[in-house]
């Protein structure tokens, strides 16, 4: 499997490690009233789609950047690759 790194171009999947659902970027506000419930859902509940899935991958043996990879779990097609920091900043995260 080849992952088309947004900066470095096509790189072999063996250089990457997989973390999980890209929804992990949306960490709940720990000061919110429903923080306990929100963190329960954040920690334990995952969608398991047959089809397009946004995932966090780490370029461990490369430039060590975190990526958001959009992958079709049925065909294993990789549809889009973005830097996770760009995704997080676009969603209002400061770091």
């Amino acid at each position: 499997m080849i992952i088309n790194h947004p900066i470095l171009g096509p790189r072999d999947a063996q250089e990457f490690t997989y973390l999980g659902d890209a929804a992990l970027i949306d960490r709940p506000d720990w000061q919110a009233d429903n923080a306990a419930e929100a963190f329960h859902d954040y920690l334990y509940l995952r969608d398991n789609p047959a089809g397009e899935h946004r995932e966090l991958w780490f370029h461990e043996q490369g430039d060590r950047s975190w990526l958001v990879v959009t992958r079709n779990t049925v065909t294993h097609d990789i549809l889009n690759v973005e830097l996770a920091r760009d995704v997080a900043r676009a969603r209002g995260r400061r770091k």
């Binding site: 900066i7 043996q61 430039d63």
Partner: protein, 188 residues
């Protein structure tokens, strides 16, 4: 007074050199290293400070650059390694930190890494078995990180098809050296 004897990453008192027919692998223990991470939102100021004070233009992704006594390679987004002669720049990290001030984070890296310079006519035949970088398609000035013997190593192209530098974790210098030797023996 302590009487301490400096040793190279491979544990010798002088750098190890291995000769093959058409290949030379030489341990290079005379480089000082320091990393620069540009602070968020201060990336342009960081590059400008390095250029104006050290005379070094920080390289683009997957490249290395040279400026005066300094050389740098790209390690990741807004992250570079600066390299200089160790004898002349033992306090490299201090000097780089003075240059970038509060717009970049600097870490001393000299003792974290080992370096092997690999050169000769057979160098590409060796690297194509060592890692999955397509060095034949590359050019002088390329700087990649790749997995060699399960170690994350930087591979700098110094002269295309002729001379490369491999920089790997110092604590695994023996394993990396072993990988270079066994690959060279299997190829040559």
């Amino acid at each position: 007074m302590h009487s301490l004897k400096a040793i190279t990453p491979l544990g010798g008192t002088c750098p190890q050199i291995d000769h093959f027919d058409g290949l030379l692998i030489s341990e290079n223990s005379d480089r000082a290293l320091a990393s620069i991470a540009a602070r968020q939102g201060r990336e342009a100021e960081c590059s400008a400070a390095v250029q104006s004070i050290l005379g070094l233009k920080l390289p683009q992704p997957a490249k290395w650059s040279i400026g005066g006594a300094y050389m740098a390679w790209w390690m990741g987004p807004d992250l570079w390694m600066v390299d200089a002669d160790h004898t002349d720049h033992e306090l490299l990290a201090v000097n780089v930190k003075r240059a970038v001030g509060s717009v970049g984070s600097v870490a001393e890296q000299t003792d974290g890494w080992c370096r092997f310079d690999v050169s000769g006519a057979r160098v590409l035949d060796v690297f194509e078995r060592l890692c999955n970088l397509n060095l034949r398609a590359g050019e002088a000035g390329d700087a990649h990180r790749a997995s060699i013997e399960h170690l994350g190593c930087f591979v700098l192209c110094l002269e295309a098809g002729a001379k490369y530098a491999v920089i790997g974790p110092r604590s695994s210098a023996g394993a990396l050296h072993h990988a270079l030797l066994t690959t060279a023996q299997s190829v040559i």
